[in-house]
Symmetry: C2
Subunit: 185 residues, 2 copies
Amino acid sequence: MRRFAAALLHHPILDRQGGTVTTAITNLDLHDIARSARTFGVSDFFVVHPIAAQRELAERVREHWMTGSGSRRIPDRTPALEIVRVVSSLEQALAELGGDAEIWTTSARVRPASISHAEARARLETDGRPVLLVFGTGWGLAEAVHERSHAHLFPVRSAVSDGYNHLSVRAAAAILFDRLRGEAR
Amino acid sequence: MRRFAAALLHHPILDRQGGTVTTAITNLDLHDIARSARTFGVSDFFVVHPIAAQRELAERVREHWMTGSGSRRIPDRTPALEIVRVVSSLEQALAELGGDAEIWTTSARVRPASISHAEARARLETDGRPVLLVFGTGWGLAEAVHERSHAHLFPVRSAVSDGYNHLSVRAAAAILFDRLRGEAR
């Protein structure tokens, strides 16, 4: 079984008009996605932000649940926040995984040569290089991130959709972790 | 296919010590769970709170995304918030579904006579009474809610767990909607 890590990118990210922007850190993304990641055996959850002040904010949220008053009030969150790594770039996340990890990207749109979740799950169960599953914030990952990925996952979709498909990144991450590492049905 | 609705209860809820309490509304629960619910074809998302001031808060959040500045900034949220119904009790939610809905409860623990997610999915695909899937806040639904339920769903679990299982209610709801109504694998 391969090492399976996740990353939440805040740059380069698309905005509503398709421009490339840097998004702000959302406190709740950190502990919500960390809890989902830890529950499904994700080894590391990288919070990636190029701006030092934003990384410091993320570190403060992490410390609040690791050793601060949050850790005393809700100790169940501490093991989840333990896997959070605040880094400045995707390169740094890859370096922390040993330098040979595969990048797998996600989006809400179908892209050419996407792999199914069943295929992704099977690939994770083999031996091999670590996998870094990358989620975007804002309106999704910029094209440059997809272009350097080793695989792109199909979007999460409903069986009974009326065309509406606007999951939060927190919900999409929870569902993908479940599909890739949840108890077999 | 049966009508499938969801409810988020704030009373009666367990606290850390097992006492019965009323929890406060978390703004983000409303739009996160509403977006997941709408994406997976859930007909109604009831936000259930016995305190009028808390219901007014929930209504203000709803209006912000329905007709306020939020609806102009991020119009994608409007269809999700359209299915939110702010009510004072589980009875009121059941009445709005026509009075004959089945209550299905969720929790993070295995309970006697729980049904699998595959079984729940199959039951939803038949014709029959509406189903109201009930989620707790805090440390979960009080026993009184489980006692009146028609079915109890198995908890969401990982295939590779180290024993840690502390999903947020937002993540648990997203995963259960996907398991019950997601695109077949």
